[in-house]
């Protein structure tokens, strides 16, 4: 007779969450602890939903895709930024402390307004293709071809999901609010490489050639090490720094 597999009892997790509702004048920031039994292959996404369903429906946090694509569930997990949906509880100790990402406007509890920050960055850096005469372009004609290597290089940088982890991992961004961080520098590199963008290096320099841009980066490499998409941020920033220093 074969042994009947017995489901092992999971650990008890103690999830400490930094609670605060800035819309409520009586709300004071405090850590609230929730006890939870760990399930097989549990992610923080599952754990937080369980807390909201069974313990406290007022808990605020953001999720859309639960697959590391939308970038909404960035938060500070035991001191380091990461995506809750991509973090397995089995990789964490019994005590898990969750806090909202710093540097972004707090909506409530673990929910922050990264969209507002990213939009501001995008408008400041003009992160769209700048090209002359597009209004006269013939949309029926074949697009200009691009070398596959270059297309892949652009795609690699396009993988950024703007989750804000690189900003929360950056000592410079936390000290200096006007620093555009790895997400912004990555965007500039992406358009600098794109042959469809007709902006010159001098024009890019006007956008990032100062201490709030590429020359403000102190190479702490928190962005590179904490990026949930493993983007090659250190090499991108070094590339941009060399380009901008040669303008």
């Amino acid at each position: 007779m074969s042994a009947i597999p017995v489901q092992q009892v999971g650990r008890t997790l103690y999830i400490h969450i930094l609670r605060h509702n800035p819309c409520d004048p009586l709300s004071e920031a405090h850590l609230q602890t929730f006890e939870l039994e760990e399930a097989d292959a549990m992610t923080l996404f599952i754990a937080l939903n369980e807390i909201r369903e069974n313990h406290d429906p007022s808990l605020q946090f953001d999720f859309v895709c639960r697959a590391g694509i939308c970038g909404s569930c960035g938060m500070i997990i035991n001191g380091r930024p990461g995506l809750a949906c991509r973090t397995l509880t089995k990789d964490l100790p019994d005590n898990i402390t969750l806090a909202p990402l710093p540097a972004f406007e707090l909506i409530g509890d673990l929910s922050v307004n990264t969209g507002k920050w990213m939009r501001g960055m995008s408008e400041q850096l003009e992160t769209w293709v700048h090209s002359q005469g597009l209004e006269n372009a013939d949309i029926d004609s074949l697009e200009q071809t691009m070398e596959p290597e270059l297309a892949e290089q652009l795609y690699e940088l396009e993988r950024c999901i703007e989750c804000g982890c690189c900003i929360a991992a950056c000592g410079t961004a936390l000290m200096r609010e006007d620093f555009i961080g790895a997400v912004g520098l990555n965007q500039i590199t992406r358009f600098q490489l794109d042959p469809r963008d007709q902006r010159s290096d001098a024009q890019f320099y006007q956008l990032v050639g100062d201490d709030s841009g590429v020359f403000g980066c102190m190479t702490l490499l928190g962005c590179e090490d904490m990026c949930p998409k493993q983007l090659p941020l250190a090499t991108q920033i070094a590339f941009l720094r060399r380009r901008m220093a040669m303008v």
């Binding site: 500070i76 001191g79 380091r80 710093p102 690699e156 991992a169 000592g171 936390l174 000290m175 200096r176 010159s200 001098a202 024009q203 320099y205 006007q206 050639g209 100062d210 201490d211 841009g213 020359f215 102190m218 190479t219 702490l220 490499l221 928190g222 090490d225 904490m226 090659p232 250190a234 090499t235 991108q236 070094a238 590339f239 720094r241 060399r242 901008m244 220093a245 303008v247």
Partner: protein, 244 residues
């Protein structure tokens, strides 16, 4: 377009890196020259005279050493004023960085802070060292230096300076490479790992070399304490007046 560009941020970043690189190359060379004492008093005297131009001009000119010190001081001043831009500038910035560093437990973030601390310490330590060498360039030699180290109690300064300068230089070279070097994205992680290992090896090597030579100077100074001020005269040149 280019007329309106303010190129100073680019120049300042380049200059900070360049002065840092020159200073690191200088200090690493300096370590090999000063540790010539490990090969004996005569070897150290030969190196001393080389820097005083004695091998070229037949006669030592200690003012050459003062000139070199002045050049190094200028490099340090330029590097320091450029690096100061990056220091946390207010209590709020220090507080944010400390909290961030403590929570992240991230090596490179912490290493940067080590550079801030050692850099700040060297404002005082390096200046004291440079000033003494600048105003007493003739006071270098197997006995002269040892007496300064032991009888003059400069060993305290040198212990602190040795640790600060090599941490700062080693970490600085690693960060300089990460800042500018065109690593391929695919191999960057491996290159970074190797660079970091090299960084720790280089720091350990220079700390060992520096400690060994400092202990040697202290030992010579201790044994020579009752005759402090007396200059070393090599056996082969005991009839010549030139000595240090």
């Amino acid at each position: 377009m280019s007329k309106q560009l303010n190129l100073w941020p680019a120049r300042m970043d380049l200059l900070e890196s360049l002065t840092g690189l020159l200073l690191v190359l200088f200090i690493w060379g300096h370590m090999f020259f000063e540790s010539s004492i490990l090969l004996g008093k005569d070897a150290m005297l030969w190196v001393t005279r080389m820097f005083e131009g004695a091998h070229i001009f037949d006669k030592p000119y200690p003012l050459l050493v003062s000139g070199a010190v002045a050049a190094i001081f200028v490099l340090i001043a330029v590097h320091a004023i450029l690096a100061l831009r990056k220091f946390p500038g207010s209590y709020r910035q220090y507080h944010s960085f400390h909290r961030h560093m403590g929570a992240m437990r991230h090596a490179d973030t912490t290493l940067w802070y080590v550079q801030v601390i050692t850099g700040f310490a060297m404002f005082f330590l390096a200046s004291s060292h440079l000033y003494v060498v600048f105003v007493q360039p003739d006071n270098i030699g197997p006995y002269a230096s040892s007496d300064r180290v032991w009888t003059g109690r400069f060993w305290i300064l040198y212990v602190l300076l040795l640790i600060s300068v090599h941490l700062h230089a080693g970490i600085g070279m690693y960060r300089l490479a990460m800042k500018w070097w065109p690593f391929k994205a695919a191999s960057a992680a491996l290159a970074r790992k190797r660079l970091k290992l090299a960084m720790w090896c280089v720091i350990a090597f220079f700390l060992c070399l520096g400690s060994a030579s400092l202990v040697t100077y202290m030992k010579i100074g201790y044994e020579h304490a009752d005759r402090a001020g007396e200059r070393y005269v090599p056996a082969t040149e005991s009839n010549h007046p030139v000595s240090n």
